[in-house]
């Protein structure tokens, strides 16, 4: 590196290094392998992501920058590193989520895929989506049973905690045996909000 010394050379080098292009804009990309958007919602900051076909692959709680970066790393590792912020690709999903959280009885969820799910999570979450509808609730034990894992209620709980498609795949509708709310990826306040939303909307 350049040894430090005072004098005209330093000023010249500083002038050179101070070159800037204030009117510059970020690059524009026609497509992405994974597109994402981050929005503040009534239940917290959420990241939505879809693949190249527009299929939703993630709906995650990202309360801070670290959580957002972790979500993006997960998408890069599992699907493709060509991940770009492109909210326009998530318009349908964002509208669906906004309407849902406003209390409107939601229409069909956007097309989704369990690209981010583990092999254990896939039958658990698929069963959840098929059997626990709007306004319904199920216990971890019931879900474990339906998913063909009757002894694995705790593992089912963990699997739900890592649900890559929160709200879309309704892990918020799964409660403890006594009806207690136990856990939720977005926090218990969010879970309560969603359950109350669904019960008052019926």
């Amino acid at each position: 590196m350049t040894p430090s010394h005072s004098g005209p050379s330093d000023r010249l080098e500083a002038s050179l290094a101070g070159f800037d292009v204030p009117a510059a804009r970020p690059p524009d990309f026609p497509t992405a392998d994974v597109s994402y958007a981050v929005d503040d919602t009534p239940i917290g900051r959420m990241l939505l992501a879809c693949d190249g076909s527009g299929v939703l692959v993630a709906s995650l709680f990202t309360p801070d920058a670290a959580a957002e970066e972790a979500a993006l790393q997960r998408l890069a590792a599992r699907i493709s590193p060509r991940v770009l912020r492109r909210p326009q690709s998530l318009d349908e999903a964002r509208r669906w989520l906004e309407s849902y959280l406003d209390g409107g009885r939601p229409g069909a969820a956007p097309a989704w895929a369990l690209s981010l799910a583990t092999p254990f999570q896939i039958p658990v979450l698929t069963t959840l989506a098929a059997r626990v509808g709007y306004g319904d609730r199920a216990t971890y034990g019931q879900l474990a049973s339906w998913a063909g894992r009757p002894q694995a209620a705790r593992a089912v709980g963990t699997a739900l905690g890592g649900n890559p498609l929160c709200v879309v795949l309704p892990c918020h509708r799964v409660v403890g045996a006594s009806g207690s709310l136990t856990g939720y990826a977005g926090g218990l306040a969010a879970k309560r909000y969603l359950l109350e939303l669904e019960s008052t909307s019926l």
Partner: protein, 160 residues
């Protein structure tokens, strides 16, 4: 090896890529070169075998796009060992319409031999060390130092 999500690369480096592009080719082509560089990086990204110096890689792609832009305009970069031999080739002065260059020094840089301009841009805008500059220019570290010091000499003279 896991590659970081591309958006993080864009967020971290788009300003510096734009600065380097404009320093190398001037304001008329700077935006185009930067955009081209990003599209090339995007295409090549999944094939990368190392993630250790992505910033340097982006600058290399930018430098190559800048060289292609010059070539496209019919100005061939002269691969000479002695930079003073290229002194006869003087690119037109680019008015810095979109750049911020208070001392006007970059206007003078644009009149230097292409290899000196490139070395100065890579040294002071991309902040590369001489080994990296040498690798980009396809020359030796010693030549990189000489290109930069000759350029500074010309600049000091022009500014005095």
């Amino acid at each position: 090896m896991t590659l970081p999500p591309f958006q993080l690369l864009v967020d971290a480096h788009w300003r510096d890529v734009a600065r380097l592009a404009h320093a190398l080719v001037g304001p008329d082509d700077g935006d185009d070169v930067a955009q081209q560089a990003w599209l090339q990086a995007w295409a090549a990204y999944p094939s990368l075998t190392s993630a250790t110096n992505l910033r340097g890689w982006l600058f290399t792609v930018t430098y190559r796009c800048a060289t292609d832009a010059h070539r496209g305009r019919g100005r061939r970069p002269v691969p000479v060992e002695d930079p003073s031999l290229a002194a006869a080739e003087r690119p037109a002065v680019d008015p810095p319409a979109t750049a911020s260059d208070e001392s006007g020094v970059w206007q003078i840089v644009a009149t230097l031999p292409p290899r000196q301009r490139e070395a100065v841009a890579l040294r002071y805008v991309a902040d590369l060390d001489h080994a990296a500059i040498a690798a980009a220019l396809g020359t030796s570290t010693a030549m990189s130092r000489r290109l930069v010091s000759d350029a500074l000499g010309s600049l000091r003279k022009a500014l005095s």
